[in-house]
């Protein structure tokens, strides 16, 4: 059963994964076992294959989606059985105000999910106020800010300043990214980290929460 779920995750089969997990729960298999023996090994294997350049983004991301589908069933089951467990970490992520670019941020978001993070993706054109509000509400370990235009990069700085004003700057690690963003820029605006692509972003996020 665990192997079957793992296989379905690796093949990016969202519906099959969901069905198998539901059947396992119905059959009385402990949700924590499903998590540790099927979901995590499955999604970790996908990550390894990606690192080894055998998997491509669609394969990694569909594996992540399948894992997310499994978690949608497993998490409520864990909660109702009062099992203690912990996510890798929580991330709030979005593309800054005035910027409609979705894909880069979405890849990072999917890959973080695939790596076991609890990801709250706020989408595109997200205002500073909305970021602050979500940080207060969700209390994430990491805040990810994406900007694809030189004209919207400045918003990343605005948001960091707004976080400081709200007294949240030391409570969350701010990671910035996007095509025109550089390490120098990240440092100059007081961000806690910068990654040049999605793979680097996941590594960075993992190093922050570990």
């Amino acid at each position: 059963m665990f192997e079957e779920i793992k296989k379905a995750i690796l093949e990016g089969e969202e519906e099959i994964t969901r069905d198998l997990v539901q059947k396992a729960i119905d059959a009385g298999i402990a949700p924590l076992d499903l998590l540790n023996k099927a979901c995590i090994p499955g999604v970790e294997r996908a990550g390894e294959l990606f690192e080894a350049e055998e998997f491509y983004l669609p394969e990694l991301i569909t594996a992540g989606e399948a894992t997310r589908a499994a978690m949608d069933i497993i998490v409520p089951a864990l909660q109702s059985s009062n099992t203690e467990w912990k996510r890798v970490g929580k991330v709030v992520i979005g593309t800054v105000e005035g910027d409609m670019h979705d894909i880069g941020k979405s890849i990072v978001s999917s890959m973080l999910t695939a790596s076991g993070f609890d990801v709250i993706d706020l989408g595109i054109d997200v205002s500073a106020a909305r970021f602050i509000e979500e940080v207060k509400k969700e209390v994430p370990g990491i805040l990810g800010l994406s900007a694809l235009l030189t004209s919207t990069m400045k918003r990343q700085q605005d948001i960091i300043e707004a976080l400081a004003e709200a007294g949240l700057k030391n409570k969350v690690k701010v990671l910035v990214g996007g095509a025109p963003v550089t390490r120098e820029w990240a440092e100059s605006i007081g961000a806690d980290g910068y990654a040049e692509d999605a793979v680097a972003a996941v590594k960075l996020a993992k190093s922050i929460v570990s």
């Binding site: 350049e53 669609p58 569909t62 409609m100 979705d102």
Partner: protein
């Protein structure tokens, strides 16, 4: 859905055809062989003082006889080719260079029998070499024997179809006899032509007696003829693209007429290697942008007559030492192949076909395989058009998580990694040329080409001894 490089509109093709009929009828061709002049005259041509004028009706009649499919047989049937064949052109080594780049010392020197043997072994090993041109001449042989010896060495040391130069009647006869031994008799050779013969007119419009007599011998024996016309814009053809294509077309049609008069069943490739001249030096300019465009025009004319086509394009002409030069060569070869000729002979060539290199042969094969990616065919159907997927994702979304993406991306998008190839392998050491050299040595040390049956070999030996005596007299 597939890429095709076209130069001519349908109307322009018709105009070149029409003008060709006029040139053949009005200007005619020079044929320096009494025998062939008489042959053409018997079929309706007008022969006056070595000039042969061919009436429209005769041209049209012979065009109607053109062979649309040509079989190129090989020593071993698994290497037989039917042309037109697969989705990619069949590639061969380049040909008949008198010089070779020495593998060990990197110097250019006169080529010999041993060099040709080594090239044969490498060509036998490499899948991308679909048929074989004796890439270097065995210049250590007496000159009268060079082409026969080249064919003999090629037969013995590799198993693919051999396309060999043939520039005299005597050579043609010996080559046919040698091939007949391998095919199991002259009759069998007709259905199993284990070689085809390259014999060219000289632009403008001239059929020199050795070449044209050789063409006739080959045609009579059922050996496919490869005229490889070489009109050069500005020197041996008009300086215009249209004029060069017209000159080429006239020479191709004239060859077709000659071989069809010799044998109505004879087969011919619309084979050309035309290029502009560098009008500062008068030398052929293979690096010019017109070169691939002229090939595209030739390929279209060949398709118009439904004749299988051939060029000798793609040669990298240099040793690629770095990624940019390699990538430039890939694009050059891809562009040439997009002309969609059926055959091309170019692998391993250097210095405008005067020189050849084992290292380049291995590199060119790799370039060839990379260039094939530009020639792939893509389906257009409901599944690949994917309107439902586009609808499901809608504006602003992305396709990375779509099952449709998962299903198709590995076939439709280029996912081959550099490290999948041997020479480009980044984990390898040394320059590309050094890695290619290493591969050459590995093949030469480990690849064993199965031998021809002992009895056949004895007969071939005997024939070669006889030819040695008679041709040198």
């Amino acid at each position: 859905m597939r890429s095709v490089l076209n130069l001519l509109s349908n109307d322009e093709i018709e105009r070149i055809h029409e003008a060709s009929l006029q040139v053949l009828e009005k200007t005619g061709i020079a044929v320096h062989s009494e025998k062939v002049c008489n042959l053409l005259a018997r079929h309706g041509a007008i022969h006056e003082n070595g000039r042969v004028k061919i009436p429209r009706k005769m041209v049209e009649e012979k065009i109607n006889l053109a062979c649309r499919i040509i079989n190129l047989a090989a020593r071993e049937p698994q290497f037989n080719l039917t042309v037109p064949g697969g989705p990619m052109p069949y590639n061969a080594t380049s040909g008949y260079s008198p010089f070779v780049r020495d593998l060990e010392y990197g110097i250019t020197r006169s080529s010999n029998r041993h060099d040709l043997k080594q090239f044969s072994i490498i060509a036998d090993y490499l899948d991308a070499v679909a048929f074989f041109w004796p890439i270097v001449m065995p210049c250590d042989e007496p000159v009268q024997l060079e082409e026969l010896s080249a064919l003999d060495i090629s037969f013995r040391n590799q198993r693919k179809h051999v396309q060999c130069s043939c520039s005299s009647e005597a050579t043609a006869r010996w080559q046919v006899r040698l091939a007949a031994i391998l095919a199991g008799g002259e009759d069998k050779l007709r259905s199993k032509p284990v070689f085809s013969g390259v014999s060219s007119p000289v632009s403008p419009l001239t059929f020199e007696h050795n070449a044209v007599d050789a063409m006739v011998v080959l045609a009579e024996a059922g050996i496919p003829v490869v005229p490889m016309t070489m009109a050069l814009s500005g020197t041996t053809a008009p300086a215009t693209m249209a004029g060069t294509l017209l000159m080429t077309n006239v020479e191709e049609l004239a060859t077709l007429i000659i071989i069809k008069c010799a044998n109505p069943e004879a087969a011919m490739f619309y084979a050309s290697d035309i290029a502009p001249s560098d009008l500062k030096t008068g030398v052929v300019n293979y690096l010019s942008p017109e070169y691939p465009l002229l090939a595209a025009g030739c390929a279209q004319m060949a398709r118009f007559y439904k004749l299988p086509s051939m060029v000798s394009h793609g040669s990298s002409e240099e040793l690629p030492h770095d990624l940019p030069s390699l990538e430039r060569n890939i694009l050059k070869v891809a562009m040439s192949m997009m002309t969609r000729t059926d055959l091309s002979a170019w692998l391993g060539c250097l210095d405008s076909a005067l020189n050849a290199s084992l290292i380049n042969l291995v590199m060119d094969v790799e370039i060839c395989e990379q260039a094939f990616s530009y020639l792939r065919q893509f389906e257009v159907n409901d599944d690949t058009l994917a309107p439902d997927v586009i609808d499901a994702v809608g504006p602003g979304g992305h396709y990375l998580a779509q099952k449709h993406t998962l299903k198709h991306f590995r076939q439709e998008l280029w996912t081959k990694r550099l490290k999948d190839t041997i020479i480009l392998d980044r984990s390898g050491t040394g320059s590309f040329a050094e890695r290619a050299k290493h591969k050459v040595k590995e093949i030469l040390a480990n690849h064993h080409v199965p031998s021809i049956e002992a009895e056949t070999l004895q007969e071939m030996d005997k024939l070669m001894q006889q030819a040695r005596r008679e041709l040198q007299q």
